[in-house]
Symmetry: C2
Subunit: 318 residues, 2 copies
């Protein structure tokens, strides 16, 4: 679409947004999604997890069965991506999980805790053997400096990964942190670098632009920011900003068509930031609990914030 830009964009709305719909999406929405993105300057679409069966009910885009992937492939002109949760998948599962996807999927990403980089490296070897591009989505970047071993091991990803992602899991990093961490990473790997920002503090755009400015090769975003907790960088915000500042060619009719269907879904599920997510982001506290408290609408904001502060001070609380 535009050949001069030196970075890629990955939209992961269906994958990250699935936290709000339990990975169920209706057919009409999915069609609008793929059709709209065919006209937009985005390179990769991450459509879900690929997982072994779990005990509780989880929707289509948590498992991405072959018929889901085939339909996506038939509707989309983009590179397609799935992600694995490192904690749930071992190297011996890779062949069964991924061999059937060989002609349907271009990249497999691994979501991992930095503590398990070693295990993820062995998993990646198996994935690479099947010929996929491989991405490492490494969580908790605001705490990486506390994981000394992890920083020393980063160089080992060169052998097995195409993209090494910094994930701002808490949505609490600032542009100066992005700059600092990207430099730490660039000193240690020749891998292409990605940034996945959460929007608790409304810093996802400026953090992503800062990452690009300091040499990031790929940026993640989701339509309307739909994603776990406070959500992600909004795809429409990233494209609008790059269109105005760098002339990124963007079809705003296609963009508004896909934004429109997700905004309607948002009225039911209410993702986006709010005071409890801001507090969890600003203090690097896990937003998994906050998401449960907020979406159940059972607790007052007051009690959520009190609970968060107790977590921060490691006081026990119900």
């Amino acid at each position: 679409m535009d050949t001069v830009r030196n970075y890629k964009i990955l939209d992961c709305t269906l994958r990250d947004g699935g936290y709000y719909t339990n990975w169920d999406f209706n057919k009409e929405l999915v069609h609008t999604y793929f059709k709209s993105f065919n006209e937009l300057p985005v390179d990769y679409l991450e459509i879900g997890y690929r997982s072994s069966p779990m005990k509780e009910y989880l929707g289509e885009y948590f498992y991405c069965p072959i018929y889901v992937l085939q339909e996506a492939k038939s509707l989309s002109n983009k590179k397609l991506v799935i992600i694995l949760n490192e904690k749930d998948v071992r190297p011996e599962h890779v062949k069964d999980l991924l061999e059937p996807c060989k002609d349907l999927i271009d990249m497999v990403r691994i979501a991992l805790d930095p503590e398990y980089l070693g295990r993820a490296l062995r998993l990646a070897e198996e994935i690479k053997k099947l010929g996929f591009e491989v991405g490492f989505n490494v969580m908790y970047m605001s705490k990486w400096k506390q994981y000394g071993d992890f920083l020393n091991q980063i160089k080992e990803v060169d052998a097995v990964a195409d993209y090494f992602y910094m994930v701002d899991s808490y949505g609490g990093v600032y542009p100066q942190d992005v700059k600092e961490v990207i430099n730490l990473v660039k000193e240690r790997t020749k891998c292409k670098i990605g940034f996945h920002g959460h929007n608790n503090m409304e810093l996802a755009l400026i953090n992503s632009l800062t990452a690009l400015e300091h040499g990031a090769d790929i940026i993640d975003a989701t339509v309307t920011g739909m994603g776990r907790g406070a959500g992600n960088l909004k795809t429409e915000l990233l494209l609008t900003a790059l269109n105005a500042s760098q002339g990124l060619k963007t079809d705003f009719n296609a963009l508004s068509a896909v934004v429109d269907v997700f905004e309607r879904l948002q009225q039911d599920h209410g993702w986006g930031t709010n005071l409890p997510y801001m507090v969890s982001g600003a203090n690097s506290l896990p937003q998994k609990d906050v998401m449960e408290w907020v979406t159940r609408r059972f607790y007052s904001f007051n009690s959520i914030i009190r609970a968060l502060y107790n977590q921060k001070e490691k006081v026990q609380d119900n």
Copy 2:
């Protein structure tokens, strides 16, 4: 509350939020507002406009009659502020409009187009004679460099103003723009400097923190970002960020109480950014029209964005 900080915070929810409620607010909400802010590290509350009678209906906080100011004064322990629209007020109106407020209001701000700085200076002289603090809220900072005369005249505010505000009317400036403009201003005036950010591009927080870092003395914000068009920097976001990064002492129970009542109001009025506001912000297009189009829900996003692009290219369109 905390004596060491070297900057002030002004909350202007009732004034800027009035664009969504036609400056009507119910008594209970107003009570919660003042009571909560009594416990929060905010210095000034701007409660509305003071205006001569207009033809169309406009609510209490557009006129701020004396009984409204008296009630605010009785409920609040903060400095109280009103704002005048420079385009609607002449020096000869000042005595009638403002003399009755002398013991109720601490600061009077003037919202002005940079083109009319000369006229605003004469207006400010009259206001200053009555003993108020005076603020200049100068709009369109993304275009100031195109107003050569304005930049040359800035030094004249020293004689009549306490605060000189950079207003990002379009919500489209980036941190590097804030840094550039604040330096242009600091070279020209000894006045204390303020920043009023809009949130079209979700840059209001980082722009405000950048302004503080480069010497701004006062920051504007509104609860839940309630304000014209895409809205403002969210007060709760600013306080949460400063609490976590600088130890600003913040009562989160009081903060969540006031956020809660405005979030309920937001469900009816739906302020906040969206794709049309992002496009208007990124391209410095007026958001007044966009606000009308979006809130009437009569036009599709597609047609709004097409209209915005036509404005940008100066094509006529209905």
